[in-house]
Symmetry: C2
Subunit: 469 residues, 2 copies
Amino acid sequence: MCLGAGINWTMFPSNLFSGLLTDLYELTMAAGYVQNRFDVRATFELFVRHLPLNRNYLVAAGLEQSLDFLENVHFPAEEIAFVRGLPIFRHVQPGFFDFLERFDFSGDVWALPEGTVFFPGEPLLRVTAPIAEAQLVETSLLSILHLQTLIASKAARVTAAAAGRSVVEFGSRRAHGTEAAVFAARAAYIAGCAGTSNTFAGHFFGIPVYGTQAHSWIMAHDDEAEAFSNFLDVFPEQSTLLVDTYDVRKAIDKIIMLGRKPGGIRLDSGDVLADSLWTRRRLDQVGWKDVQIFVSGDLDEHRIENLLCSGAPIDAFGVGTALSTSADAPYVGVIYKLVEVELDHRIRSTAKFSADKKTYPGRKQVFRLATAETTYCSDIIGLEDETFGSAEPLLVPVMSRGQRLETARQDPASAVRMAQARFLAEKARLPNGLLTLGIADPPYPVSYSARLEELCEQARQSFTTSPLT
Amino acid sequence: MCLGAGINWTMFPSNLFSGLLTDLYELTMAAGYVQNRFDVRATFELFVRHLPLNRNYLVAAGLEQSLDFLENVHFPAEEIAFVRGLPIFRHVQPGFFDFLERFDFSGDVWALPEGTVFFPGEPLLRVTAPIAEAQLVETSLLSILHLQTLIASKAARVTAAAAGRSVVEFGSRRAHGTEAAVFAARAAYIAGCAGTSNTFAGHFFGIPVYGTQAHSWIMAHDDEAEAFSNFLDVFPEQSTLLVDTYDVRKAIDKIIMLGRKPGGIRLDSGDVLADSLWTRRRLDQVGWKDVQIFVSGDLDEHRIENLLCSGAPIDAFGVGTALSTSADAPYVGVIYKLVEVELDHRIRSTAKFSADKKTYPGRKQVFRLATAETTYCSDIIGLEDETFGSAEPLLVPVMSRGQRLETARQDPASAVRMAQARFLAEKARLPNGLLTLGIADPPYPVSYSARLEELCEQARQSFTTSPLT
């Protein structure tokens, strides 16, 4: 079965760009807008309300896949038939199903480039489109940006703890499915990992791939030394040998007895500090000073920091589950909120005043101020037409009338490399306090501009004086 | 671009069945096995070493997608070219790339049916195949089974806390990507949820879909009452109206003033206990006793239990992030371990004796014993040819020589319904202590059979007396 034209299947395999990858209420609301001929142009902003546990900043990632989605999202005929058949759509008129059939996202999008460091309240993405369109894409945009931003923000901590040593993302087996594994690899690379074990991510995004051997390789052989020797036969220069299947020190002695120098030694369990110290000494004794020590096994940023503080002579780390699920904080509270509606050139800024869930109205821009030494010192969230001296506006246009801008169109490998370069440049400009594993005190200062506060107050006034309230 | 034949794209869109959706070391080991002509038949078992935080049992889910993967996994030419071009494969001979080109999983698989309750140490899946094949599929099998087992095990807690009231899975926006969102919906349904907001999961798996409206619907209108009225026009019978955008009680009075009875009222923030009590009284006063109260907003099993214990008159819950990321325990330590190798009809049972990471050798079966009242009382993990009186063996054959057995072939909707039915039947037979939110004390008793312990000891002996050790 060959699916419709216009979809570039090589773009990313695990995404059908189905319009149904969304919450049902996006469809009911879209039907409501279409049927009521509610032809307003709406602006939604996607942002985070609070920092997750243990985070001092967030790292924007996932924009490429969001734009792929917006460029390609559509409703195949059988999906429209499914919606039409749902009891709740019983009274919906045919115009809505025609709308789904013709659906082709036509909005404007501004976003933070991937790799940008950002903070709560700051829009990661801003969508302006006919309201039914902007509403329909909400769930997918949140889901796509959430995953990679979550993992990149965790990876930034892990790579900071590794203090210059390589970190390889190793978590495909515990990421939340095969698609999440690929995107976790991508996000981890953006935030400074040296590479991934995920071969698909290597192929598709040009991310360096790393791999050693599993315990099963050793166990499958009658004899551990034979297992090492057979592996070295096939990979004579780049074998990293796993030595903890039975007994770490005996295994290393077996390798030395073979007289064949491997590329590296991998420790995956046990007392890694003691074993790495012993291993380094033993390897150095036989003149194998360039054989690297690679450590994995239930690592996270805290274990890495502790090992390095204790002087463990480790050259590189493989970090799996904790990184690829962001285990200590497995979600970020991303939200997508209506901030403005425009009907017949009349603009109304909108806000929400629910208990503990207030939002700010209006189209925003994020302005970042730096010291004379170029260290970032504070952000101002203002309205899009404001300026603040030399402050850098962070949101850039990426899509206009549904077309991706040329400046936002790159091959997958270039995009991910540029995002990593941006993150590394940003990281170098962050105040040091933000880069520690503890909670930064004070936190990075972010404020709302006076004009934005004023607009918020106006929205509240106009709401509380509205006749029906 | 039309991709190769043999792939049923309707099976699941977000899975290309690419052989590269794996860790690089699976490929290096496979190359090692092929090049060394290491033609053993291997048996691997996929299981969990420990219960995650806060769990008394696990719920098996994801088998359908695992079998889809095993039936379809292959290596397209450009993926083989990618592997061949990696520096580490420089010395690998062409035979391995021919092997990848011809790759077609030919193994036998036994598994726990989806919806089965299981415990640490018990194989969820057992694969017997030529070792290179069995090794190559490791990462994907772990990743696929991990996600759904993780979410089903969390959902079982959430539905238990709801004590008969409906729970709808609402977490697509915070699940780890659009694929994870669909599978989280599936797994949540298996473990007793009434449905999902994920429309794709509704379409593909026949899971009931639910949706209300977002704050944006209300905010987009100048007037809240008009927003309610416009929605009721389009969905006159099934509107669930969201009342917390500005002020819950004023919103409900506006709906009453409209004189049009909605299907339900949704509370999404604030003091849900007080508001639900007030709302129920107010609705009942005007004779709207059948208008349901639906609650969402940062719910988990503990908040649901607290609300119901406090007498909150809630008819149904929408549970998002906490459920769809299994937020309190966002991973399960699934592993895939070699337990047996067979070479020229000689069988060797294998085990790992690393510090704190011991595994048991041999092909296993799980035997579940029940009381006269049919309540489950203990499990024995034994060898596959053992029997224990009336104890039920849980692992069943699902694939033979790479072909899915007819008994394991169902349409997606029937499979998920049967899995839910199995889980509900299992749940009814679990000891009550396991169904509470606290840690069961004592835990469910699981032991290894005497023959298995003996085989483990033999493996250890043969290892420690091996000449090269």
